[in-house]
């Protein structure tokens, strides 16, 4: 076994999985470096959850292989190092979060840091109540705590903030960042770009069961540093044609990877702009641009 394979929290190549006539995953390559947080993005049904199931060893891939810290996914050694949220929060009604958390910690042979978890995930008031009748958000918070209670080195989180109020979402973001800052690796699926940007340093975009784009967010941004200039113009005035500016009913916007030149020329041509702002375009827009450039030569 080579050195990098052992060090890498996740190293997966060519994963494929079919359910009957549905090819859920056809070719997934993933790497997660030590201490890295990877965001898995993709539309509904793209194969994100199936990929996580294979990485957790809950499902056998039809093809390809996945290793967790160099151990085959799903092996005892791999499971000892990983934590995950349950797919649905159908805990036995008769148990309290404290009991479920204590049980889980016993399986990892660790001492549960119940106070820290209660604090991070807002379990204080519900720790000793039976989960029967918990709200969706309360169940979600228990699920999140369960992923971390075994002090794992790698955590899988499938749409972790679905059903959480914004306070609980912020709490989760802080907890995830703290975990990564302490050296933990993390894989997260989410539909919220701001959540991915808040927590992850790398992304993998999955579409119809394939990895279509992956990389570190910083590098993707550097690869195409596109900015958006937004400004207002006096009534009846339109920007010059070369700017290809778009109006959104409120102000004008120009997207460009040469923002300095554009701005200089606007000044030279005495365009009477007002309230000018200049900011990097959002990650989702950037990725849409990159994918468009790749598919339209």
């Amino acid at each position: 076994m080579n050195h990098t394979a052992t060090e890498y929290p996740i190293h997966a190549r060519g994963l494929a999985k079919r359910f009957g006539s549905v090819q859920a995953v056809s070719c997934i390559d993933l790497d997660v470096a030590p201490g890295e947080a990877l965001g898995l993005l993709g539309p509904n049904g793209a194969g994100k959850s199936t990929t996580l199931s294979m990485l957790m060893g809950l499902q056998h891939p039809d093809a390809g292989a996945a290793h967790v810290f160099g151990h085959p996914a799903g092996s005892e050694a791999a499971r000892r190092l990983t934590g995950a949220t349950p797919q649905a929060s159908d805990f036995p009604d008769q148990l309290s979060p404290r009991e479920i958390l204590t049980y889980t910690a016993a399986r990892y042979a660790t001492v549960p840091q119940l106070d820290t978890l209660a604090d991070r995930f807002g379990l204080g008031a519900i720790m000793d109540r039976r989960t029967a009748g918990f709200s969706g958000g309360e169940l979600r918070r228990v699920s999140l705590a369960l992923a971390f209670v075994g002090a794992p080195k790698l955590v899988f989180l499938d749409e972790p903030t679905t059903g959480l109020d914004s306070e609980a979402q912020d709490g989760f973001h802080a907890a995830a960042r703290a975990y990564v800052a302490e050296g933990g690796a993390l894989v997260l699926t989410s539909h919220h770009w701001d959540e991915i940007e808040a927590i992850c340093d790398a992304i993998a975009l999955i579409d119809r069961g394939e990895t279509v784009l992956s990389g570190r967010i910083g590098e993707i941004r550097a690869r195409a540093s596109v900015h958006r200039l937004s400004f207002g113009l006096p009534e009846g005035y339109v920007p010059p044609e070369w700017t290809a500016a778009q109006h959104d009913g409120d102000s004008w916007h120009i997207e460009t990877d040469k923002s300095d030149d554009v701005l200089r020329r606007l000044v030279q041509e005495d365009v009477p702009f007002a309230d000018l702002t200049l900011r990097p375009i959002e990650l989702r827009e950037l990725i849409a641009r990159i994918r468009q450039e790749e598919t339209t030569p």
Binding site: Q59, A84, P86
Partner: protein, 242 residues
């Protein structure tokens, strides 16, 4: 490992204890039915046999019925799936389930014996009771594996009716409600091959202090081996499907 086993047992027992829907029918019913129908079946050997029969019925209720249903429900629960992603072997989980089942079997059987002491003038000695306990223990193993086998092949919603459909006729066929000597010939011919008849015969021999018949011990072993094989097959199938 020990800590995991203790945690797993505590989890199982807590869930079952806090679920009156489980323990009222399986733990209290055998003693209740015995009080209604078994306790007035005359004296002497009849009374002793009736008590032993309801002990076996209690074993069957907890082991087969509840195990079958809970194993089927587990297969459809996301929590049980998630448990498979945790460290620690699956074997411990099974051991804990058996421990929890034996715990409830013990209560159910003890209740039947207590009702017999209260309602009848039987005073079985320590030796017959110990022999009966051994037969109940052996029968529990068979019943539990039969339950696992059933639960492994049925969807959760079908498990309850199907378990009833097997469990009640088995109790009748085994002669737990009507002594085998009163059975019509055709039924009696089937009866001797059922696991419940084997359990019944062994329990009657136990409480009466007569010798165990090898034939019934072998039949019980056969059913245990068959149920184990089915349960094992289901586990393999489960593994392949994933």
């Amino acid at each position: 490992m020990t800590r995991y086993l203790i945690a797993e047992c505590a989890l199982n027992l807590r869930i079952l204890f806090r679920q009156p829907g489980f323990w009222v029918p399986t733990v209290l019913f055998p003693a209740m039915l015995y009080s209604f129908f078994g306790a007035n079946s005359g004296g002497g050997q009849w009374a002793a046999n009736a008590m032993a029969s309801f002990c076996v019925y209690a074993v069957l209720g907890v082991g087969f019925f509840q195990f079958g249903v809970s194993v089927a429900q587990d297969r459809e629960s996301a929590f049980a799936t998630w448990q498979r992603s945790l460290p620690g072997g699956i074997g411990v989980q099974w051991v804990a389930r058996v421990v929890a089942a034996l715990f409830f079997v013990t209560i159910a059987v003890v209740l039947v014996v207590v009702m017999a002491l209260v309602l009848t003038d039987q005073r079985p000695g320590a030796a017959p009771l110990a022999r009966l306990a051994v037969v109940c223990l052996a029968s529990s193993v068979t019943a539990i594996f039969m339950g696992i086998a059933l639960g492994s092949f049925t969807p959760a919603r079908a498990a309850v009716p199907l378990a009833n459909l097997i469990y009640l006729p088995l109790a009748y066929l085994g002669g737990l409600w009507v002594p085998p000597m009163f059975m019509p010939d055709a039924i009696a011919a089937i009866s001797v091959w059922t696991p419940t008849r084997a359990m019944g015969e062994l329990s009657w021999a136990a409480i009466n202090g007569t010798g165990f018949e090898t034939r019934y011990a072998v039949i019980l072993l056969g059913w245990t081996a068959g149920a184990m094989a089915l349960a094992g097959l289901a586990q393999l199938r489960e593994g392949r499907r994933a």
